[in-house]
Structures are given as structure tokens and as C-alpha cells.
């Protein structure tokens, strides 16, 4: 059968089957079970009306149950069992309850902890960077002439598949021997630096300024969050006494990290003039992989935040201008608080994407050179080494990590639907 015919048949069978089901179940309900005739006509119409929605929901419920609910519990069960071949019957297996053995085995593997560590780094860096870049792009493109073009450019990576993006960035990070011409974009740029004043300016002084600025912004935000608590006026409830100090401590930690990096960067001897194998540079290669996801996700953050910025009431900004606020104050103290809700939504959405990141790591390094992440670890266990117990256990770890955000998102979505 030709592919086109096959596709048409699939569509016909799928849609036709569903329509036929809807149609005939309704016909049976209306004509046979509760016919709108005879002495009970009125009651029958009401009854049929009560049952009808379930006719539509039944297939959906069955499909959801079979494909969503059952697999989740099955994964949980598999993570607690082990597959043992049945003696004398090749190809037959039975599942033996082993308790937490799979989890114990998983946590004894160095690769798992490497994946956990990398996932945590992804979790901190990618949502923060994508949201920050998105916010920056949204603010900068707001009401300028070339804004739309810049926006559609930044959004374009969203249309490309993760694998495609990974392939593009493989070329960006490509390295060839020092005696050959470099093809990788990053190495070509890298070789422009010869250790002179220009290199020091671009690779040391400017990053240091950026790091210091980051530290400054972080500590300022931390101070803004903590200030109400110190003034003891507006701090209320759990948000006041637990979250505010937590945010402040996090800010201090970030400040500490950025100061540490300033010192580290300043003292680090950069290998000028030699091409680098960026992809297999331990620890740092994680960040090169993260760049790919940030590249993709910024567009998403930008369009959502840009819509939110457009929605800010004009008079609040005008009032701030009249009061003599500078652009930075307007941005951080007028605009950002008003779109804080949207920022959180964008952040959590990207966080979920990050926790599931698989394609990029799979296509670029496949977890080599200490870039393993949980999803790829799970894939490897399930489909390469066929270790279903440990694979399912790591799937449960992903589920547990996602759960808080999942529940939070569900609560939010329900509020929106009312």
C-alpha cells in the first residue's frame, strides 16, 4: 500500500471510528434507552442529557487512565521490582519484589550523582538565564523601531527541534587540530585573542564588570526583599518569616559565588592561541550545553514577558517618571513587581523543560565527559543497558523533582480556568 493511502486509511479509521462512536452511542441513547416518547418523554430527555457527557468522556477517561495513570503507577512498581527470567521458558520473565534495592544500587553509582549534580546546575542556570535574557530582550525591544525584527529573530530557535539546535551548536563548538584551519565558531573567535590588551579587556575586565554588576543586582534585590522584615512593619505570615530570609541568604550566596568567580577568573591563566575542545572540557562543558537550551528558551520567555510588559498600566510608569525615577528604578521597582507573576510562570515552565532535558545531551555528548543528566541516565538504563529497575527508579526521581512545580502549576491553571 502506498504511504499516502496508508495515511489516509489511518486518518479515516481514527476520525471515522471516533465520530461513529460518538454518533451511534448518541443514537442508541436517544432512540433505544431513553426514547423521548410515551408517558415518560420529559423524564427520558433529562436522563439522556445527564448521561450524554459521559459518552464523550468515557473514551477520554479510558485513554487517559491507560496511558497516563497506569504507566505512572507501573513505573513506581517496576522501580521496586526486579526482572527474573523464568527457568526453562526463555523470553519469559517474572517480576520479583526487591524493595528499595534498585534505589540503593542507583545511589551507589557515581554516574547518578554526576547526573544529579548536573541537573541541579541546569536547574539553577537555565531558567534564570533564559528568563533574564527574555526579560532584557522584552524590555529593550519594547517600543523601538527594529524591535519586531529582533524579536522574531530571537524567537526563531523555538521553531527548531532540540536535536537541530544541538547539531548547530556542535558546529559552533567544533575543534580541529591546531595545525588546521578552525571551523568551529567558538574556536575561530577564541583564536582572535592573542593575550594583548584587547584580550584582557574582553575576557577579563568586561566579565569581571558583569560579575560585579550581577553581584550588585543580586544583593540589592536581596536587600529589597529583606528590608520590610527589618523594618518589622509589613512582614506577615510564612512569606515574611521564612521565604524572605531564605531569598536573602540565597542572594548572599550568589554574591559570594560571583566574588569568588571574579577572583578565580582574574587569576586563571587562559590558554591563548590554542584551539579548545569545548565539548569535552570537564565541568565547563555543562555550561556549553546549557547555552543551547538558553538559546532556544529565551524566545519563549521573551514573548510572554513582552506581552506582560505591554499590559502594565501606563499611568504607573508616568507617575514614576514625574516622581523623578531613573530608567533602572522604573524597570526594577515599577515594572518588575507588576509582572512578577508572569516571571514566576515563565520560570517554572522553563524549569520543567530543564528537568526533562534529554535531546540536547543525547545528541551532543550522550553523557560523556561528565555531562550526564537524569533523563539521559534514565534512557541509558532503560533502553541501552536494559536495567529496567534502576531506569524506573531514576524516572521516579525525575517525577519527585518535578512534582512540586507540577502541583503548583496545576493549582495555578485551575485558578485561571474559573
Amino acid at each position: 500500500m502506498s504511504p499516502a493511502l496508508q495515511g489516509l486509511t489511518t486518518i479515516a479509521v481514527g476520525v471515522g471510528g471516533c465520530v461513529a462512536y460518538f454518533y451511534f452511542s448518541n443514537v442508541i441513547l436517544d432512540r433505544v434507552i431513553y426514547p423521548p416518547r410515551g408517558p415518560n418523554a420529559g423524564r427520558n430527555i433529562n436522563r439522556a442529557g445527564q448521561i450524554r457527557p459521559w459518552l464523550f468522556l468515557l473514551p477520554a477517561l479510558v485513554a487517559l487512565g491507560l496511558y497516563l495513570a497506569y504507566p505512572v503507577f507501573e513505573t513506581l512498581r517496576l522501580s521496586l521490582t526486579e526482572r527474573v527470567p523464568v527457568l526453562g521458558q526463555p523470553g519469559k520473565f517474572r517480576y520479583v519484589w526487591v524493595g528499595l534495592d534498585n534505589y540503593r544500587q542507583m545511589t551507589s553509582e557515581a554516574k547518578f550523582w554526576e547526573a544529579m549534580r548536573n541537573n541541579m546546575m541546569w536547574l539553577f542556570v537555565v531558567p534564570a538565564a533564559a528568563t533574564a535574557f527574555g526579560l532584557l530582550a522584552a524590555q529593550l525591544t519594547d517600543r523601538i523601531r527594529w524591535g519586531t525584527i529582533a524579536k522574531s529573530l530571537i524567537f526563531m530557535p523555538m521553531a527548531i527541534s532540540f536535536v537541530g539546535a544541538a547539531v548547530i551548536f556542535k558546529l559552533v563548538y567544533e575543534m580541529r587540530g591546531a595545525d588546521q584551519e578552525q571551523i568551529g565558531v567558538l574556536n575561530a573567535i577564541w583564536l582572535q585573542f592573542d593575550g594583548g590588551f584587547g584580550s584582557v579587556l574582553v575576557l577579563k575586565i568586561i566579565p569581571v564588570i558583569i560579575l560585579l554588576a550581577f553581584g550588585g543586582i543580586v544583593s540589592w534585590v536581596g536587600w529589597l526583599v529583606l528590608r520590610p522584615l527589618l523594618a518589622a512593619r509589613r512582614a506577615r505570615g510564612i512569606w515574611g518569616y521564612v521565604l524572605r530570609p531564605a531569598v536573602a541568604i540565597f542572594a548572599v550566596w550568589m554574591l559570594w559565588l560571583s566574588l569568588q568567580s571574579v577572583v578565580g577568573l582574574w587569576r586563571f591563566e587562559l590558554a591563548y592561541g590554542t584551539p579548545q575542545a569545548w565539548i569535552s572540557l570537564p565541568f565547563w562543558n555543562n555550561f556549553f550545553l546549557m547555552v543551547v537550551l538558553i538559546w532556544i528558551q529565551t524566545g519563549f520567555a521573551m514573548v510572554i514577558l513582552s506581552a506582560a510588559i505591554r499590559g502594565i498600566p501606563e499611568d504607573t510608569i508616568e507617575a514614576a517618571i514625574v516622581d523623578g525615577a531613573n530608567p533602572f528604578q522604573i524597570f526594577f521597582q515599577i515594572k518588575v513587581p507588576q509582572i512578577a507573576g508572569t516571571i514566576v510562570v515563565v520560570w517554572t515552565t522553563i524549569t520543567i523543560t530543564v528537568l526533562k532535558v534529554f535531546d540536547i545531551v543525547f545528541a551532543m555528548t550522550n553523557g560523556q565527559w561528565q555531562t550526564q543528566v537524569l533523563s539521559n541516565y534514565m534512557y541509558e538504563k532503560l533502553f541501552v543497558t536494559a536495567d529496567w529497575g534502576v531506569g524506573s527508579a531514576s524516572a521516579m526521581v525525575i517525577m519527585i523533582l518535578v512534582s512540586p512545580i507540577l502541583v503548583w502549576n496545576v493549582i495555578n491553571a485551575r485558578k485561571e480556568m474559573r
Partner: protein
């Protein structure tokens, strides 16, 4: 209000606001924007340029330079000759597989989800809150958690490794988010329209086809965009639920690029990436604003 503002405008200075083309603020904005755009555009630019160069020219370096001699040979090779393992018929096989996966799953999922969403709007029933919560969970939950049990399920049903199985998985996983999307859109249709149609004698299907369908074209376009880009760009399901000769395009792209035999042909790799991205990019350029809505709606998907 309008009166007051015209008064102010009449009293104030006339003519367009004087602009200074070069001010510190403008330099900062355009400078930052330029840097940001560079990060997003440079990889795309290099991809296009490299895909149009011959291999000898690529080896010379000069990655940022436009091709001296434009050649479509890499594109032809990526489409028809590039090797993945033993097969050497390029991306074309993956392209047709992707098409055969895409069209049925998009059509079926949207047809069923729109009817479901319509049914949900039309009838209030007990337990609808719980049902919606389940739907929301269903659209947010990460696929990884259910991957292996679904493999078992499909194997039991005898459709593991076939395109039909993959179509089914895509259809069902698109269902929760699409049903919510349609339901939320249909609730905004005024109830009087239903009642008027009901009085005029339209039944369930009459209302759906004559009122809902023509009124909700935008949401159908959004749903199509969401499904087309999502399914076309999917990698995980493709690699898990199909067999090598049925792999969709994304998986084949990965296999072509990561195949270890022979010389690395950067231009062919880039052309292959471009070809793989053509479908969603075309959709993007045609649909514009609606594309953003489609992607935003799909971003929460598990």
C-alpha cells in the same frame, strides 16, 4: 477625558517630538540588542552559510564569510545520499516517515479534542472539577515517567515499533492539553448563540459544525501549530517507539550527524538540519503571531 487631552495637545508644543539619533541611551539599547541578536543570529547564519559551501571551501576556515561559490550539492546529498549506518538514502526516508506520523496524529487529535472540548462546555456535570484537574495533570506530567510501561503496553497490543503505535501515542498525549485549549476557547462563545441555535432546531452536531467550527478558526490554527511543531520536533518518542527504518526525521538527523564512518561533512550536516527545520520554520513564517500562541500553549506540555 478625550476633551482634556486634546486641550493639552493644543496648548503644548506642536509638530513631531524632536529626536536625537545618537544619545547615550540609544547607543546602550541598540548595542545591547545587537549583542543579544548576535548570540541568536550567529549560529543560524553560520548554519545557512555552511550548508551552501562545498567541502573544500569549508575546510579553508573563513566560517563567517558568505560562500564564494554557492552550491546546493550538500542539500541534495543530505536529502538523498547521506548515510545512517547501512542505509544511504539520506533524510528523505525520515521526512516521509515524519509526514506519515504527523498528518494522522494531528488530524485525529484535533478532531477528537475539539469535540471533547465542545461536549465539556455544553454540559455541566458532577465531577467536572476533578476531570479538569486530571486533564491538567495529564498535560503537565513529564513523559519520561511513563515511557517504559507504554513500551510494554504497545508490545502487548502488538503495535510496538510501528508507525501506528507512535501515531497513537502522539494522539493520546496531545489530548489533555488540546481538550483544555478547546474547552477554554469554547467557553468564551456567548451562551445565547447556543440557545438560539437550539431553538432554531440545530442538534449537537449542527451546533458544532455550523456555529462552533466557523467561529473558532483561530484556536484551530493554534492547535494545529502546537501539534505540528511538537510532533515534528519530537525526538524521544520517535527513538523509543519506532524501529530504525521507521525513524522520524529528527532521529535520522541525529544518526546522520553522529555516524562515525567517513569524513565529517559539516555542510551536509547543516543542510540536513535546515531541511529538518523547514517545516516548522515555514509554519512560523506563515502564521506569525498565532505561532507564538501555539508555542506558548504547548510549552507547558509534559
Amino acid at each position: 477625558m478625550a476633551n482634556a487631552s486634546t486641550n493639552i495637545a493644543a496648548a503644548g508644543p506642536r509638530g513631531p517630538k524632536p529626536r536625537r539619533a545618537i544619545s547615550g541611551r540609544n547607543i546602550m539599547i541598540y548595542g545591547t540588542l545587537g549583542l543579544v541578536a548576535l548570540y541568536y543570529a550567529l549560529p543560524l547564519y553560520v548554519m545557512i552559510v555552511t550548508s551552501l559551501k562545498g567541502m573544500p571551501e569549508v575546510r579553508l576556515g573563513h566560517i563567517f564569510a558568505p560562500p564564494v561559490e554557492i552550491t546546493f550539492q550538500p542539500w541534495v546529498k543530505a536529502w538523498a545520499q547521506a548515510c545512517t549506518g547501512l542505509n544511504c538514502d539520506g533524510l528523505s526516508r525520515g521526512f516521509w516517515n515524519s509526514v506519515r506520523i504527523l498528518i494522522p496524529s494531528v488530524v485525529i487529535s484535533i478532531a477528537v479534542a475539539s469535540v471533547n472540548g465542545y461536549a465539556l462546555v455544553n454540559w455541566k456535570f458532577k465531577g467536572s472539577e476533578t476531570f479538569f484537574t486530571i486533564l491538567i495533570f495529564g498535560s503537565f506530567i513529564p513523559y519520561q515517567v511513563m515511557l517504559y510501561p507504554i513500551v510494554i503496553l504497545l508490545r502487548e497490543m502488538g503495535i510496538y515499533g510501528t508507525l501506528g503505535g507512535l501515531v497513537m501515542v502522539h494522539t493520546i498525549f496531545g489530548m489533555p492539553i488540546l481538550t483544555l485549549l478547546f474547552r477554554n476557547y469554547f467557553t468564551s462563545v456567548p451562551e445565547e448563540l447556543f440557545k438560539a441555535a437550539r431553538v432554531d432546531g440545530a442538534g449537537f452536531w449542527g451546533i458544532y459544525f455550523r456555529i462552533m467550527l466557523p467561529m473558532s478558526m483561530p484556536i484551530f490554527v493554534v492547535a494545529i501549530i502546537l501539534q505540528v511543531t511538537g510532533i515534528w520536533n519530537d525526538f524521544l518518542f520517535g527513538v523509543v517507539f519506532t524501529k530504525p527504518d521507521l525513524y522520524p526525521m529528527t532521529v535520522q538527523l541525529n544518526n546522520i550527524v553522529n555516524s562515525v564512518q567517513g569524513v565529517k561533512e559539516y555542510n551536509v550536516n547543516m543542510a540536513a538540519t535546515m531541511i529538518t527545520g523547514l517545516v516548522p520554520l515555514t509554519v512560523y513564517f506563515i502564521s506569525g503571531k498565532l505561532f507564538v500562541r501555539g508555542i506558548a500553549a504547548g510549552a507547558v506540555k509534559g
